[in-house]
Symmetry: D2
């Protein structure tokens, strides 16, 4: 039998932008997700470091996964990102998203992006609006 979380995983894995960016879902639980991405040549900015948009894409993918993990369709309202350390080509980045607070209509998440060796690359907080729709 396929559990609801399995169906949600499948839904999250259907994300085309994540595929395009090489973002992989490593783990999904209710209110938590873990995702990884390797910085490719395509993701470099004009300073030759990982583009802030590429780092954010990983953080946002983890945010979307965790916030939709309860099976209720959730959409991002606001998100911030603090960049703490540059990421280079070839670096494998891991994003973990933690649920800070779950309300009926809104919920708040923390997203950490770290390099393979645990260095903090970027840190985000994001709030979603939770719709009256089931995800799957």
């Amino acid at each position: 039998m396929v559990s609801n979380l399995d169906k949600i995983c499948e839904k999250i894995n259907s994300d085309k932008f994540s595929k395009f960016m090489g973002i992989q879902l490593l783990e999904l639980r209710e209110g938590y997700s873990k995702m990884a991405m390797t910085v490719t040549e395509n993701m470099l900015n004009f300073h030759n470091m990982a583009h802030g948009g590429a780092i954010f894409a990983l953080a946002d993918a983890a945010f979307a996964a965790a916030s939709n993990s309860h099976g209720q369709t959730s959409v991002a309202l606001c998100m911030n990102i603090n960049y703490r350390s540059p990421a280079n080509k070839g670096m494998r980045l891991v994003a973990e998203c933690f649920e800070e607070s779950l309300g009926k209509r809104t919920a708040l998440y923390r997203i950490e992006v770290r390099s393979d060796d645990g260095k903090l690359i970027a840190l985000s907080q994001g709030t979603v609006y939770r719709k009256d729709e089931e995800l799957v």
Copy 2:
């Protein structure tokens, strides 16, 4: 003769992630930039709308262009994004970045992402740290 702004334009146009995302620089002045991107199939999320990360990528590219337009290397410290309206496949998005405040060490920008017909898709503010390095 090639002006400094031309050299900065060239530098900004060397951005690989922007190329990967189909982001085009439309206009660059000191403290201002305008960029465009069309939402492709590759940029859709699992709700089949433009991924927040793709929209942010456009905003961030405009932010990087405007904040580096003075020729002093600038790197993002913090940025927020507020999502106001979903964007669909095929939609052409335009981002404009305005300088709100320019300091010696830091500067603040506003980035608007709008659809072709002027609808507000997302709104950002971002602060950069200005290094003691010339960009070109």
Copy 3:
């Protein structure tokens, strides 16, 4: 006859924290507010400048006024503030709040805090959740 906006003004003027901080409502229209506050000795931080919390209080008061100006009870979900210039004792600060986007359930605002002579002290963006309740 008392208009609805008059009643909303009265409600906003009943705010005790604004009174405590000496914050005055100068102008209120649907989706817009203007408020002022003078930096007193009580508002200084340990650097002897206006405390970030005091500056934010003014911004937040303007945000609350503008976001409740339609007569629908609105509560802040997320807000950011960027500090751009210090404020000294005796300085009169003016905050203006502009509606960037009004949705059914959420709305987005921009708040500028300036000194009397127009210098940008701080800049904020904030998103409210709009409840199914009338304010007055």
Copy 4:
């Protein structure tokens, strides 16, 4: 002998706005602070709940204490706040500030504001600019 941290504590305790708001420093270590404030009648907004500005004041006081705890003068650049639960008159709020990342020029903090019984009231992230000045 008076340690440097004692002198920093004394400096932080000289904060006039914190005194005005009844904010108390409970604990200070390098990169960490804990502060408390009781919601008084003066801190209520026009919804008769604790004003967002009053809650932010506590968070900001903790942020200032922790970010200046190394003895290097630090000033806030950007800060966000997410409001998760209302606070009532008489409620005692505790803010804890944790250092997420310490750089030479900038540093990032997380600030939690909770009620006495541990409920999350608000959550913030803030980045400071670290000046070439000693605090004491």
